[in-house]
């Protein structure tokens, strides 16, 4: 089944996030809505292999990579395609050329950066458009360098260099929200200094605006850092507690955290009265069995 939606449903970093989490393989097509409605929509392509980005292009003819090579003066389009045609088994273009000594590993990395990171950074600025993920699409060997990177790492790199955040405004966490960790222990990916500083406040209680004050950073900057931590699966936005509560440390399977039920309550007791009560006692097993039995009569 295809996954599709609009940029108002999901921002592109969020799309990348769940494609990586789902370890998806396939083609993500992004149809940009042009400002001029009479113009043809521009389509972008990003290919994934098991949640890693392997290539990106803004053309469908699979000539994006050779055009890049030619533009840099490293090899002609014709020569590249000749070498590529030699291979009978599917092999990424970049690896074919590297195997023939026509480009160096360092050049391959530069190509990948230019093809994927830069394009993704541009794509993050798209304000309106649609996306569709096709899990049945073949990987485009002619567009592939042979290198790949986990989607969230591409996201992190691209967001760090993103200048225009207007397209993501609606998806950014609020200044009065806090952050809570959704990862076990410390982050395994490489964070920059400011990201580490914000990470120190990922405790579910400290509003982003307070983090900004503590770190003496602009609130907008901390919001963007927080967004980065969210879309790379390290943190989640949560509202700060509105009333005092005891932080939960035990599992509900423990007896004193087991199910509770109100006792000695009259049938006529109103919702308000019910809500006023704070004392809780464990529910009886017979209560649950009776309720299940009753519900089964409605199925």
């Amino acid at each position: 089944m295809s996954i599709k939606g609009t940029f108002s449903d999901f921002s592109l970093p969020e799309v990348f996030q769940f494609l990586e989490q789902g370890q998806k393989t396939g083609l993500l097509k992004l149809r940009e809505t042009p400002d001029d409605r009479s113009a043809h929509p521009i389509v972008h392509f990003v290919w994934f292999y098991q949640g890693r980005i392997v290539a990106a292009a803004d053309r469908a003819d699979r000539r994006g990579l050779v055009k890049m090579l030619e533009k840099r003066g490293w090899i002609t389009e014709r020569a590249a395609e000749k070498i590529f045609a030699i291979y009978s088994t599917p092999t990424p273009m970049g690896l074919c050329l590297k195997a023939h000594g026509l480009i160096h590993p360092e050049q391959l990395h530069q190509l990948f950066y230019g093809q994927v990171i830069r394009q993704v950074c541009d794509l993050f600025q798209l304000q309106t458009g649609q996306f569709i993920f096709d899990p049945d699409a073949n990987l485009p060997m002619a567009e592939m360098t042979g290198l790949s990177q986990p989607a969230v790492e591409v996201t992190l790199t691209a967001l760090r260099s993103l200048k225009d955040w207007r397209a993501l405004t609606e998806k950014l966490p609020l200044p009065d929200s806090a952050l809570v960790s959704v990862t076990q222990g410390q982050p395994s990916m490489k964070l920059v200094a400011k990201e580490w500083q914000v990470w120190e406040f990922v405790n579910g209680n400290t509003p982003i605006s307070t983090i900004a004050k503590q770190l003496r950073l602009p609130v907008d900057e901390v919001i963007r850092i927080a967004f980065r931590l969210i879309v790379v699966n390290l943190a989640e936005e949560v509202p700060v507690p509105f009333i005092e509560f005891e932080p939960v440390t035990e599992d509900f399977t423990l007896p004193d955290r087991a199910m509770f039920v109100q006792s000695e309550e009259s049938m006529e007791e109103s919702m308000e009265e019910s809500m006023q009560r704070t004392d809780k006692v464990p529910v009886s097993q017979s209560f649950l069995k009776s309720l299940v039995g009753f519900l089964k009569t409605k199925v």
Partner: protein, 187 residues
Amino acid sequence: MEIMRLVVAGTVGAGKSTFIRTISEIEAVDTDKAATDETALLKKKTTVAFDFGRLAFGPEMALHLYGTPGQARFDFMWDILIRKAHAYILLVAANRPSEFRYARQILQFMKQRVRIPMIVGLTHMDCLEAWDLETIKISLRQLEGKGHPPIITVDARDEASVAEALITLMQLLMQTREAAENSMNSP
């Protein structure tokens, strides 16, 4: 009288009110008042509105259902409701992917405050725009495995479907309790 409080949380358009209305024996109350000690202090600042329903199934037993406030932002009422709940169901509209992020926030919000049994109910799965179960699980960060709640499909308009969802939740409660008792009795 034994009463269990069940919170029906959910994203915008997921069918929280419908869910409660479908199973409630009384006409579900959509209230803008909650005259509790805690809310009285805060009421000046905001309007409180949530659904309430009740299901009596014996002379001394009843289930109370509370829908979380309809607006897409959390407020103090959420804190009050969830602290008093014995279990909750999170309803997520499968055809509104833009709300999945909010659903994740609800899960985190709850997790931070209580450890009570819960399930996720996916509604509108029959809509053309609905995302498939696997993709929704990924979007909600609820892949299979330990610590993740059961995810079921529910039609909030259908009494049998709502009853089945509640049975799943009650069975989870019973399993949890049995597991706790077994662990207490084991040497």
